[in-house]
């Protein structure tokens, strides 16, 4: 090999760096997960986790819903954009990416002012008289009109729905980008061949475009699901602390009042492993050969 002339020496500092700051910290997480404060081996951290089973199911559930929504919106959009001219595509993809470069917290903060009880949406509904209408109907049809409590706003913030909305809003670009980049790389002659062989556009999509774009879909799913399942900002800002997620739980063990890095490490470890298993199963379904593409 000619390129050996360059020598592997320049990679040594990098290897040392990655060993200390990537590999060792992960080993430490495993070590902390199986020990207690005195440093002795214990499984207590894992048994203690049982009381947080609800948080696990809620985290994975909400993230799964958000991922499915992102896929259902993101795929058709990526497909629609890929049909446009090169210039249109460049601008459209830039517009898809642009919100991602705005601080995550600021984007979420914007949603807070929209969804709040006195927020923009509720103010808008109030101005068009929606609540008056609902209350008028409510009083008319209530069995006891005197006991009817008029509504003044829709409860949108501090709900699980708001958390899902936050996930979809913040991570939708992560779904659109990989799918788009895979679809545009599909060999046009494949599509033409399918058409020449008599497939209509629906069949062509189902038998050619969809299977070939699967790697993009898989990496899109990963890129939406992983940050969703581990977030603690969305649940705190949009869920109002009522919908505790795995991220919150971990954060509390390291930064909050419930300081316990051993339990925190155990939760982080389990989360990491469950995510890895999910991804492995998904990649398996997506045909062993088609590895998810990284952007």
């Amino acid at each position: 090999m000619k390129n050996n002339k360059l020598g592997t020496l320049p990679a040594i500092p990098y290897i040392v760096w990655m060993a200390i700051f990537v590999v060792v910290p992960l080993i430490l997480i495993v070590f902390y997960a199986f020990t207690n404060e005195a440093g002795g081996f214990t499984m207590e951290n894992f048994s203690e986790m049982g009381s947080y089973a609800k948080v696990f199911t809620r985290s994975f559930g909400l993230s799964a819903i958000a991922t499915v929504i992102c896929l259902l919106i993101g795929y058709p959009i990526a497909y629609a954009i890929s049909k446009e001219s090169a210039m249109f595509q460049r601008i459209a993809m830039m517009l898809v990416m642009l919100p991602m470069w705005i601080n995550f917290l600021l984007r979420t903060y914007a949603w807070m002012s929209i969804l709040e009880n006195t927020g923009l949406l509720n103010t808008f509904f109030d101005t068009i008289g929606l609540f008056d209408l609902i209350n008028w109907i409510g009083v008319k049809f209530a069995s006891d009109p005197a006991a009817y409590e008029p509504i003044k706003h829709f409860q949108m913030i501090n709900t699980q729905g708001a958390v899902i909305l936050g996930m979809v809003y913040n991570y939708l670009p992560f779904m659109i980008m990989p799918i788009h980049s895979v679809i545009v790389k599909i060999d046009k002659s494949m599509i033409e061949a399918a058409r020449d062989l008599g497939a209509d556009s629906k069949l062509t999509f189902r038998k050619v475009i969809l299977p070939l774009s699967l790697p993009g879909v898989l990496s899109g799913i990963t890129m939406v699901f992983v940050p969703s399942v581990s977030t603690f900002i969305l649940s705190r800002l949009l869920g109002g602390g009522t919908t505790m997620l795995l991220g919150d739980l971990i954060e509390m063990q390291f930064m909050g009042g419930a300081y316990n890095p051993h339990l925190g490490s155990a939760i982080a470890l389990v989360m990491m492993i469950v995510v890895m298993i999910c991804m492995a199963i998904m990649n398996h379904f997506g045909d062993g050969e088609d590895k998810a593409v990284m952007l």
Binding site: I29, I73, L95, M294
Partner: protein, 269 residues
């Protein structure tokens, strides 16, 4: 192509998505000019929040920290990552694949895992070596999550390189360093610069990893987080507007550069 015409419903969907993506940002920007603290009722136009923003010491200090750590981390990660890519490129397949797997860990792992694992390491080492979490640990954390992205952007450029170039340069009397700076580096330069830009923006945008590794030092993201918890002041809106404009300008510059490069490349062939 008959089968590949844009459809009306596709365009409508795209338009709706852009409305969904940009409506909240527009709201942020509009209310940065609102004359009262209200985030829902328009009461008149003002620049006050921008003036207050520049007089807010906490925000300005945080902004300084963010810019400094992002610039340093991006430069360090780009230099280290470029040399590392050269080394990786020269390696045999097996060890290279293994190292690339490790390289992908910070990319694919959830930010919170990277954050807490580094937090544990720093607290652990700090006890032995007698240091506390602060700017140093923050910088190390940023370099750590930046390097993988630099490698992912430089390595493909090296692969496109003519394998004989380096040897030819050395045969003609160049030292390793000369051959690297005069022959290899110009060829992989687009990868290096996009790696640098990527690293810089990732650093500026990061909240989670900084949150766990910065100790008492505060980055802009951390300041914003503290502010959103208290739900105050349109200064947040003002700073988002400014950041939005800076990023928009940056992206336009990058895109124009890319288009020019593509045109140049097209002329070459």
């Amino acid at each position: 192509m008959i089968h590949n015409k844009p459809t009306r419903s596709g365009r409508l969907l795209t338009a709706l998505t852009f409305i969904f993506l940009y409506a909240p940002i527009l709201v942020l920007i509009i209310f940065s000019f609102n004359s009262t603290k209200s985030r829902t009722v328009w009461t008149g136009f003002t620049f006050d929040w921008y003036i207050k923003l520049f007089n807010n010491d906490a925000i300005m200090t945080a902004l300084g920290t963010t810019l400094l750590v992002s610039a340093l981390a991006a430069v360090i990660a780009t230099i280290a990552g470029t040399f590392a890519s050269v080394g990786l490129y020269a390696m045999k397949r097996r060890p290279r694949e293994l190292l690339l797997q490790v390289n992908n860990i910070p990319v694919t792992n959830a930010d919170i895992i990277t954050g807490v694992s580094l937090c544990i390491l720093f607290v652990f080492l700090g006890k032995f070596l007698g240091f506390e979490l602060g700017f140093g640990t923050l910088l190390i954390a940023h370099v750590t999550f930046n390097i993988p992205y630099v490698i992912l952007s430089v390595l493909p450029k090296l692969r496109q390189l003519d394998k004989n170039l380096f040897e030819a340069a050395q045969d003609l009397g160049c030292s390793w360093m000369q051959a690297f700076t005069k022959v290899i580096l110009p060829e992989i330069w687009p990868g290096v610069t996009s790696g640098l830009l990527m690293a810089f923006t990732l650093s500026i945008d990061d909240f989670v990893i900084s949150y766990f590794t910065a100790g008492s030092v505060e980055t802009l993201s951390m300041r914003i987080y503290a502010m959103t918890k208290k739900r105050i002041s349109p200064e947040i809106n003002a700073i988002s507007t400014l950041l939005f404009l800076v990023i928009l300008a940056l992206l336009i510059i990058i895109n124009i550069r890319e288009v020019q490069q593509e045109k140049k490349a097209a002329k070459k062939h």
